[in-house]
Symmetry: C2
Subunit: 155 residues, 2 copies
DNA sequence: ACTGAAATCGCTAAAAC
DNA sequence: GTTTTAGCGATTTCAGT
């Protein structure tokens, strides 16, 4: 599916204002409401728009810490990787997890209220992940940039 | 602001379905439409709900790579940190950036279409960041978990 | 204080062009 | 792609718990 300029403008707006009324979106991109809605539905059905979500303020929820955890496994066989991945998707406090190139390691991001809370998460969730050889944790002090929006060419 | 069980259920739903109709949300949490809307507005005004966004499928946009970049600066003085942070917020392809504990380093996540595209981003955006002593890049192969939703107690 | 019910208003979504 | 239109959801008001 190829996107023209208007599609990209629609995506640009929706990436910042996911709950904007269709009528307002139509105004912003210079389209009638029905044409705009048709495009929006097409973008949803194609899967380019994966979902709409509310983003919460993590400090206001008391989750002040972001912690990065680099994990090395005891081996790289399919069984070991799959067992780890199955378990990590069930670890509810793991926000992100990537399989990394190089050492076939994983990079995780976990949020916690404070160091004590991280200790709990470590004990209850991270320590139970199977096949872990080594974990290296790095604490973030402060987020500088957090964005979910990809840059869009709207020239 | 304190959240009761219904507030947390509202947040839990909105973190997954950010564009749900208020009437449907009211059904899900067992409230009338007007009561539900009032709570939702209160959560927005308090800032607990920071924003609503559309999440796009990055592979469908051709952004197949996630790259982590760890950056060490030439010093930790306020001027150096501030200059770096001001520049990094303007680097449009930097999705996340955290000030890290320990070595007063930064951890960045950048998305790129492919290695060549990353080279462009490196040249145009990362190499221009001020005060950088050393950069260590790590490539992700595949995302295992990507979530923006914090776990909510809804007992 | 917070709920639910009712009335109004505006938007969505489909049809026609 | 636009305009039109019917119907439904959002929002406000008001009264009850």
């Amino acid at each position: 599916m190829k996107l023209d300029v208007i599609d990209r403008r629609i995506l640009q707006v929706l990436q910042k204002e996911g709950r904007i009324a269709n009528a307002d979106l139509a105004d912003k991109v210079g389209l009638s409401a029905s044409a705009c809605l048709r495009r929006m539905r097409a973008l949803e059905e194609s899967g380019i728009i994966a979902s709409y979500v509310a983003l919460l303020d993590q400090t206001k929820l008391g989750r002040r810490m972001d912690v990065f955890v680099e994990i090395s496994l005891v081996g790289q066989s399919n069984e070991i990787l799959e067992a780890f991945e199955k378990a990590v998707v069930r670890a509810s406090e793991v926000m992100d997890c990537f399989l990394m190139a190089g050492d076939a390691d994983y990079m995780l991001r976990v949020t916690a209220a404070d160091p004590l809370d991280f200790e709990r998460i470590h004990r209850e969730q991270l320590a139970r992940l199977p096949g872990v050889l080594r974990m290296k944790t790095s604490f973030a002090i402060r987020p500088i940039v957090r964005t979910t929006a990809f840059p869009m060419d709207t020239k």
